[in-house]
């Protein structure tokens, strides 16, 4: 009896099973979406990540400050002439992550270096004004960055990233 009936309508029976299984699978997949999506930053965190403005007037030449944007430390360095020269002297092709200093600052504002102060190796915060290149030195695993925030030595694979920012005026930048 069993075999006879399924042999008579093999396709209809299979279609029902496949359709049910497929619909159930779609439902399961759709259920996973909100369960995973909730892990992303919530709306208040996203809203708090809005651009910030930083006044540059208090930063003297040779000094730098650390500000926080989206929970990340941003180094803003007011570089000296010597530091800028050092950064531009080195042949770009000799760098592990070739990038010219001009590409990393805003035209006409050469003295201001703005970088995300997170080592590209494993996320520690490099110390400013340390290391062999007068730039940044990461105490965790010994990565050394130069006065343009470019990687020169150590395990870090890339330069310190430059966050999106614009000069609102000569003495004010907006990060984000």
């Amino acid at each position: 009896m069993t075999t006879a009936s399924s042999a008579d309508h093999p396709t209809r029976r299979d279609f029902l099973y496949v359709a049910t299984g497929a619909v159930a699978a779609v439902g399961a997949a759709a259920t996973v979406w909100p369960l995973v999506s909730q892990m992303n930053p919530d709306a208040s965190t996203v809203a708090a990540g809005a651009p910030i403005e930083v006044d540059l007037t208090p930063i003297a030449e040779g000094q730098d400050i650390k500000v926080f944007w989206r929970g990340k430390p941003i180094y803003i360095s007011h570089r000296t002439k010597k530091q800028i020269e050092e950064a531009r002297k080195v042949p770009v092709s000799s760098l592990p992550d070739p990038q010219s200093d001009e590409q990393r600052v805003k035209p006409g504002h050469d003295q201001w270096l703005v970088v995300v102060g997170i080592c590209t190796h494993l996320g520690c915060i490099p110390i400013a004004h340390e290391g062999a290149y007068d730039g940044f030195f990461c105490p965790c695993h010994g990565s050394v960055y130069d006065t343009s925030g470019r990687i020169r030595q150590g395990p870090a694979p890339t330069n310190l990233p430059v966050p999106p920012y614009t000069f609102v005026s000569d003495t004010k930048i907006q990060i984000g």
Binding site: L16, T20, V23, D42
Partner: protein, 689 residues
């Protein structure tokens, strides 16, 4: 779990594992080859439904714990932020909160099924007792979970329930202090309840494993109550029981989704949208509906210790059921007297549930005592007596005989389902009517564009309402859970991001400290929340004649009124849940210049028809022409009241449109799935009948 399995995987890698850990054999013998009686009806799918619900609760609970803050000052807010800001946070919370009710609903059916078919009788005593333990653990878990949002009902529920232990002679006070971790319910209490609420579900899961193990040793009971004798009496668990269970779960999901997407607050108490306040007890402390019968028993006994003993005894007595009922016949189908008394017992339980929600006075107390007596009499007098005097009808020789003898007869099933639904409704309605008698007139029902399954907010009304809030209400009332960015979010008042930004910049927001360590004021940003008019509650009271103008973020959900019988039942089907908005609108228009003769209005109060007790500290806030509308809507109190309520409804539930939209999609999907599962199940079972 029923002896060594002959299952052997063919894949060599699996074979290698199986020789060292026979887990596939265990799964195969437990959930595939396991013989299940072929005459099980749909009441037996509630085991699968309960396992499913435990999984749902653990999954959503673990996720909610990722976003929740167990601190007395932050818990309420963190729950609101989950609902408002976390992606699908509103969905997860609704699932978890109504999931608790669904879990209990299913467990009660499961228990009554066991009671009716004698599933506790030899050799299933341990199986049954494990079930009672699971039920006790569920009650503890559900109670502690209800405390976590730290609303008024959470706080006062925690106070009342922990105080039960103060009835213990000599050590009572010390036990309660130990439970609290302080001199009153407070932050330490919340912290430990959170910890235990996270722990206990896993304990439940562990006991469920034992429960299933015991089940698979003794084998499932069945409607005929006779043990399987030959192979003809059983079918393999997979696909037969699996498909049937999946169909059952799918039907249950339809019921569940109705609450999640359309009636998320139907089973809750409006009072719990008011943050916990240790200084004010709500007028009616009512536990969640699933505790009501036991709450009624507690209140029926006029002695504190005896009441507590009776309440716990009412649950523990279940564990002794296998010995109280010594009748040889298992299924009540063949016990003409037991069958009738069973249904009477169901009515007694529902009656107790109804009384648990009523004020403990007058006739309710007397009926409560009678029903409490009947509850215990069923177990202690009736069941032992029936076992001796009842003449059971002959049981079928075998399960196969029972299946053959069956002549259609689905009617009892249908009527039982209706009875169960009515009972659930009655319990909920009981909770509802407890809120009724609070001395305010019932507000007239309004027409709202956001009501019903396809409801949407009216952008114009919300924008006008925002204007009324800003120009009138905001001078005394905060809106602290609403951020300016919300004004530009989908489902909101429909402003652009730039408009929301401009709106925010009109406000001064306190920020700091700056580099000098000083606080400063700056223009508002979209990420800022509406600033509150007063720095703290004391300042608010000092400026308002001792009254504290409540924050309006949740006011339309935190106010309600009793709907009464039979409206609350109709509400379930019409999805009416606009008690809050109806009340707020009515209140704003309910001022009378002169109180009616004989009404003694206290100094500094105003007469309001709809305010509970009628004496409100807020002077008449709205007058004709007070706010200028740009869109030509009438500048009347009635229009203002409706508009600002409309806006506040959105403020209380900014994702309502998303909820109802997703609800529609989920229902279309679930109906399709249920229909497909029904036919698949039918096809699978066609071979077995």
């Amino acid at each position: 779990m029923s002896g060594p399995s002959d299952f052997q995987p063919t894949n060599p890698a699996l074979k290698w594992i199986e020789r060292r850990l026979p887990i596939m054999g265990l799964m195969h013998s437990s959930f595939v080859a396991y013989p299940t009686p072929r005459n099980l009806n749909y009441w037996w799918t509630f085991g699968a439904i309960l396992s499913f619900m435990l999984g749902v609760q653990i999954l959503t609970g673990v996720i909610l714990a990722m976003h929740y803050t167990p601190h007395a000052d932050m818990a309420f807010k963190s729950v609101e932020l989950i609902v408002r800001d976390v992606n699908y946070g509103w969905l997860l919370r609704n699932i978890h909160a109504s999931g608790a009710s669904m879990f209990f609903f299913a467990v009660y059916i499961h228990m009554f099924r066991g009671l009716y078919y004698g599933s506790y009788k030899e050799p299933r005593e341990v199986l049954w007792i494990l079930g009672v333990i699971i039920y006790l653990l569920m009650m503890a878990t559900g109670f502690m979970g209800y405390v976590l949002p730290w609303g008024q009902m959470s706080f006062w529920g925690a106070t009342v329930i922990t105080n039960l232990f103060s009835a213990v002679p000599y050590f009572g006070e010390s036990i309660v202090t130990l439970l609290w971790g302080g001199y009153a319910v407070g932050n330490p209490t919340l912290n430990r309840f959170f910890s235990l609420h996270y722990l206990l579900p896993f304990v439940i899961a562990g006991v469920v494993v034992l429960h299933i193990w015991a089940l698979h040793v003794a084998g499932q009971n069945n409607p005929a109550g006779v043990e399987p004798k030959t192979e003809k009496d059983t079918v393999p668990f997979t696909p037969y029981a699996t498909m049937k269970d999946m169909f059952g779960v799918s039907c249950f999901l339809l019921f569940f989704a109705w609450f999640i997407f359309y009636m998320p607050n139907y089973l809750g108490d409006a009072e719990n949208y008011i943050p916990a306040n240790p200084a004010v007890t709500p007028a009616h402390i009512v536990p969640e509906w699933y505790y009501l019968p036991f709450y009624a028993i507690l209140r029926s006994i006029p002695n504190k210790l005896a009441g507590v003993i009776a309440m716990f005894g009412a649950i523990l007595i279940l564990a002794f059921l296998p010995w109280l009922d010594s009748a040889k016949t298992r299924s009540s189908k063949y016990r003409p007297l037991a069958k009738q008394f069973f249904w009477m017992f169901v009515v007694v339980c529902i009656g107790l549930g109804y009384l648990g929600a009523q004020p403990p006075e007058g006739i309710y107390v007397i009926v409560g005592r009678i029903l409490t007596f009947l509850y215990f009499a069923y177990f202690l007098i009736l069941l032992p007596l029936l076992a001796r005097i009842e003449k059971p009808r002959p049981v079928p020789n075998s399960i196969a005989d029972d299946v053959l003898a069956k002549s259609g007869g689905k009617a009892p099933m249908v009527s039982a389902v209706i009875a169960v639904l009515m009972a659930g409704g009655l319990l909920v309605g009981g909770a509802d009517s407890a809120r009724a008698a609070e001395g305010g007139n019932k507000p007239p029902a309004q027409k709202w564009s956001f009501s019903g399954p396809f409801g949407k907010f009216d952008r114009g009304a919300m924008q006008r309402g925002l204007k009324v809030y800003k120009e009138v209400c905001a001078s005394c009332h905060g809106l602290s859970f609403v951020a300016f960015r919300n004004l530009a979010e989908p489902g909101g008042p429909g402003y652009s991001v730039a408009q929301a930004q401009a709106f925010a910049s009109e406000y001064k927001v306190k920020d700091g400290p700056n580099d000098q360590g000083e606080m400063f004021e700056r223009p508002g940003r979209p990420a800022d929340y509406f600033p509150s008019p007063f720095p703290n509650e004391q300042a608010a009271r000092a400026a308002n004649g001792g009254a504290f103008p409540p924050d309006l973020s949740l006011i339309t959900k935190a106010r309600s009124y009793g709907r009464g019988f039979p409206m609350f039942l109709i509400d379930f089907f019409t999805q009416y849940q606009e008690q809050g908005p109806d009340y707020v609108t009515a209140l704003l228009q309910g001022y009378e210049d002169k109180p009616p003769a004989g009404f003694n209005l206290p100094e500094g109060s105003y007469f309001n028809t709809y305010f509970p007790g009628h004496a409100i500290k807020m002077p008449k806030p709205l007058n004709d022409g007070q706010v200028t509308y740009d869109d030509g809507s009438p500048a009347t109190v009635a229009q203002y009241a409706k508009d600002v309520t409309h806006f506040l409804m959105w403020a209380a539930e900014p994702h309502m449109e998303a909820r109802k939209q997703l609800g529609l999609q989920v229902f279309v999907f679930l109906i399709l799935l249920t229909v497909l599962l029904y036919f698949t199940k039918k096809k699978v079972w066609a071979n077995a009948h």
